[in-house]
Subunit: 193 residues, 2 copies
DNA sequence: TTTTTTGTTGATTGACGCGTCAATAAACTT
DNA sequence: AAGTTTATTGACGCGTCAATCAACAAAAAA
């Protein structure tokens, strides 16, 4: 009994199922049938809405990055000072949400995907530019001309800390990651004076 | 025309071919036939020497990490001072060898593999402990008790910088990566005084 | 010399996956 | 009422792939 206007619903369900299955498997080795089943439809329908599996992956990637972007924006709008802005970004980057199996699987696999799929690389570049720009808004009042260099380091440090927390055995410790990032920042800023 | 003592030769050829193909494809989506062909033998022989594809991946991973370990050791034995030790590690981490397609593909995909294959996770943990320990030898004379914390940050920063250099479009700039790491170090050490 | 061990492969198996297509049916349009 | 668009799926073609096996070749051991 086909109801009209299913497209957005189906697409969203497929995107979420894609992310879930990637997280579950830990790799991009998921079948369209798996995804479709999880989303409650036939694989043919999945192909109807997204032309190919790759399109599903890219849509999932956009979704993950959109969510992360929204989290950061949400945290930023409460920030009152430059330092609070940076703290907000750190908190969002190491939030529990980002350490869920699905998010972890998504990020790690998107890094891999970026190697062979230009569009995936483009999306990652967008994410990095946004993060950098957000950091700079907070850093410029604190560090002036050195803000650029500090932002470069801090951005990389965030990714590296994330990677470490995610790959170590045992539950990730976001507090520790934030502390290290804070220490980096403190050292770089103190140098200013 | 079977010659004796082929096992080590075949295994090495397969390991190198595995790394090459992963780098070429940019993913773990390589077939045993591809690998075997590249290594100049039939896929059946590949299965004969390694029981399964996963074993090939793990052997390849060990190989990549062994190479990297050797590079670091080689650079370290020339180091005369604590600071030179750290510089040596940085140079090795961002060496041209590590930015080859094959090395990049290997590292990124091993991070993904670690999600689902415990042995892969274990190997990565070994690598991280070794890096940390190497850093500490250099850091302790310079930073005393704070060495541990600095090593944690520096280790993560190295991974993060590597990731950034690798994922950006255009050729990687190892000089830039080393500069950022050096700046981090300088800031953390100056704080001491 | 016979036997065993080691090296090697073509062919095969059994399974699985992506993407397509024809067919069905409900909802809108005219 | 007839036609069009949207939603939906079962079946399937065509290809792929990991792993196995039987069989053959050459060196080593007995």
């Amino acid at each position: 009994m086909p109801k009209l206007g299913m497209e957005p619903i189906r697409r969203e369900a497929l995107v979420k199922a894609t992310i879930f299955e990637i997280g579950q498997t830990g790799s991009l080795d998921v079948t369209v049938s798996q995804i479709a089943k999880r989303a409650g439809m036939s694989s043919a329908l999945a192909h109807h809405y997204f032309g190919s599996k790759e399109e599903m992956f890219l849509a999932a990637m956009r979704h993950v990055m959109t969510i992360y972007g929204a989290e950061v924006r949400g945290a930023l709008c409460l920030a009152q000072s430059p330092l609070e802005r940076i703290e907000a970004i750190l908190a969002a980057s190491f939030s529990a949400a980002n350490f869920r199996r699905e998010a972890v699987g998504a990020w790690l696999n998107f890094w891999v995907l970026a190697q062979s799929v230009p569009e995936a690389k483009r999306l990652l570049a967008v994410y990095q530019r946004r993060l950098r720009s957000n950091l700079l808004v907070g850093l410029r009042p604190l560090a002036g001309e050195e803000a650029e260099a500090i932002a470069t380091g801090l951005g990389a440090l965030i990714d590296g800390l994330y990677l470490r927390e995610v790959l170590k055995s045992g539950p990730p410790d976001s507090g520790a990651a934030v502390s290290v990032a804070r220490a980096y920042l403190a050292a770089q800023l103190r140098e200013k004076v």
